[in-house]
């Protein structure tokens, strides 16, 4: 499979580099390897780069493996193959001490604001936990004040430090999670569906907060979501995933305005347009047939082929590699380059 790591326009070295990441889950008893019922190929060769201060949106539907990518990068799961580098340091081969040092710089916020905070700890304890794990990061005497200033930075109040998570709303809890992730001054933040579980009007608060933090502190985000418009709003570059692989990657303008991969096109057309300022007509929707195949049994060759209106025999053979057109890459033998009409 081609390495197809896209390089951005500028020459600053990437802060996060992922090459051919593979994560398979075995189905069946772990003790008897021979009787493996099968393998779920959750992530099957994902490569991308992240530059300092930019946001890479990782978008895809359920089962595409985007959350697994996040968990594997954080080494909450051990990868089956491939490599990932943080500032040149190999994340997967790092020793426990090296990994701990990397974790100070590579942080995460989770999707579920209700489950990601320990209900028995006060907000101060939750935000302060990073310093308990990394005592050298901040002297004990300064921690109390830092907790309160972090709370203010995320738009909460200093008095909230003594409260428990259940006293807060979903949006506020997500902010507490963000404050916790900021405690160690990370350089990269992996956001695993951070607004999906929130109400529409609250999503805006958290999105604004994340963008403001990025402006102020220059943190790079890997922003994982299934909501296309949110990803579009936040990201500089976007990667589209399908069944464990990246099918398209490019700048936000490239991917949203001139999608090259048929799946991207279908995905974009499935989201109804919200622009009411122009006269609304019933837009032509591409309705894909069938459903996403199981990652335990993906189609051979191009995984999208049995739902694609363009599929030919060649698509069942070797999987199409990511081909670049001016930095905008798509894994398709028949990309939508001349704006051919939808089926």
């Amino acid at each position: 499979m081609d390495n197809g790591v896209p390089t951005g326009a500028n020459d600053t070295p990437p802060i996060l580099e992922v090459r051919n990441l593979v994560k398979h889950f075995a189905i069946g008893k772990s003790l008897s390897f021979k009787r493996n019922a099968g393998v779920v190929k959750a992530v099957d060769g994902v490569s991308f780069e992240l530059r300092p201060g930019e946001t890479l949106g990782l978008v895809g539907e359920s089962g595409c493996g985007k959350s697994t990518v996040a968990r594997t990068l954080l080494r909450l799961e051990e990868p089956t193959g491939g490599s990932a580098f943080f500032r040149g340091q190999d994340i997967f081969k790092a020793s426990p001490q090296e990994l701990k040092a990397i974790r100070r710089r590579l942080q995460v916020i989770f999707q579920d604001p209700y489950a990601s905070l320990n209900p028995r700890m006060t907000v101060a304890e939750i935000i302060g936990e990073p310093w308990v794990i990394h005592p050298d990061a901040l002297p004990r005497a300064e921690r109390g004040e830092r907790v309160r200033s972090l709370l203010e930075n995320v738009g909460l109040r200093r008095e909230h430090a003594e409260r428990y998570p259940h006293e807060f709303s979903g949006g506020q809890r997500q902010r507490i999670g963000i404050a916790r992730a900021m405690a160690l001054d990370p350089e990269v933040l992996i956001c695993d569906e951070p607004v999906s579980a929130l109400d529409v009007s609250v999503q805006a608060q958290v999105i604004n907060l994340l963008m403001e933090i990025q402006e102020r502190m220059g943190i790079a985000y890997v922003f994982i979501a299934h909501d296309l418009s949110v990803v579009r709003h936040m990201s500089h570059r976007v990667a589209v995933m399908y069944l464990g692989r990246i099918v398209e990657i490019g700048t936000e303008g490239q991917v949203y305005n001139h999608p090259r991969h048929p799946y991207t096109k279908a995905l974009l057309s499935a989201e109804p347009p919200l622009d009411f300022t122009s006269a609304r007509k019933k837009h032509q929707r591409i309705i894909l047939k069938g459903e996403v195949p199981s990652p335990a049994n993906p189609p051979s060759g191009c995984r999208f082929r049995n739902r694609c209106w363009k599929a030919q025999d060649i698509c069942a053979g070797d999987a199409p590699p990511l081909e670049s057109k001016g930095g905008h890459m798509a894994a398709c033998y028949f990309p939508e380059d001349d704006n051919t009409a939808a089926p």
Binding site: R103, V108, A115, R120, E129, P130
Partner: protein
């Protein structure tokens, strides 16, 4: 209300625990009773030792209810005319020692093994679970009988035997809880921050498991007291002249038709002790859980 005020949480005065205790009449009564028991435990044998052993053949099998022979005989006299009240108080020390020590040891041993089995899993976990299976397969009473028959039935041996037979349940429950908590997102968050297994077990898992174990402990408390009573009945429990409530029940069994109070009051003592333990542990469980505490804090009528 301005938006700023809306955003701010109402500054509630946290209610201190003693006031919460005072509000809950049952928990308060339970706490007081346990306090009394604790006092008996501490100074009972010293204060009432003599009265518990002094024979008074005129008060043999004296029925309860009269103050003729003094207030100590209010609950009656046993077969040798000794004061029931005094014997109950003196017996509390041994009873509580045996019961508390065995359940606490069972909880600690079972809890630690369960934490290991649940968190690490794989080989070690399997071995521990099979060990627990074996332990649980023996009828606990039979195991106790065998062990105590071979060794001497002393207080220490009794505690060890009872602890071992009770341990598997703590082990299983701990392991089951750990398996579930381990998957929770806040544990992932701690891992992602760099938390070691040790840190996670201590900071996140143990505090969530502990209340469940304490609840089981209070139920186990009564089971152990009754088990000890059965062992005494079989003659391999505490040996006279040492005395426990269980032994008193066992001894009183023979006189049920003539002197029911010989078995009744020790039985009642066991029941009240376990009931208080249950009520108080239930209250403690609610108080120590931040999410549940509001149930006790919110007063009946609306604040406004």
């Amino acid at each position: 209300m301005t938006t700023a005020e809306q955003e701010a949480l109402i500054i509630r005065r946290g209610v201190p625990w003693w006031r919460l205790l005072a509000r809950d009449k049952f928990a308060l009564a339970a706490a007081l009773w346990l306090l009394i028991l604790f006092a008996c435990f501490l100074v009972g044998p010293e204060l009432f030792g003599k009265a518990a052993t002094s024979l008074n053949l005129r008060a043999r099998n004296l029925p309860p209810g009269s103050l003729e022979h003094g207030w100590l005989m209010f609950l009656g006299g046993d077969a040798l005319g000794r004061s029931m009240i005094a014997r109950l108080i003196v017996a509390s020390r041994n009873t509580l020692t045996v019961a508390l020590c065995s359940v606490v040891f069972a909880m600690i041993a079972g809890g630690i093994l369960g934490l290991i089995a649940g968190y690490i899993g794989r080989g070690v976990g399997h071995v521990i679970m099979r060990f627990a299976d074996i332990l649980q397969s023996f009828p606990s009473l039979l195991l106790a009988v065998v062990v105590l028959y071979v060794l001497e039935p002393s207080v220490t041996n009794l505690i060890v035997v009872l602890a071992i037979t009770r341990m598997p349940i703590y082990l299983r429950v701990t392991r089951a809880e750990v398996l579930e908590i381990r998957e929770r997102v806040f544990v992932d968050a701690s891992s992602a921050l760099g938390g070691s297994s040790y840190h996670i077990l201590l900071r996140h898992i143990a505090p969530v498991v502990a209340p469940t174990l304490l609840t089981i402990l209070t139920v186990d408390f009564s089971i152990v007291m009754l088990a000890e009573s059965s062992l005494s009945f079989l003659g391999i429990g505490i040996q006279p002249p040492e005395i426990t409530w269980g032994l008193m029940v066992a001894q009183g069994r023979n006189y049920l038709s003539q002197a029911w109070w010989l078995a009744f009051f020790p039985g009642l003592a066991i029941m009240l002790a376990t009931l208080s333990g249950n009520i108080l542990s239930n209250w403690l469980r609610i108080v120590s859980d931040p999410e549940q505490r509001w149930r006790l804090e919110t007063p009946r009528k609306s604040d406004e």
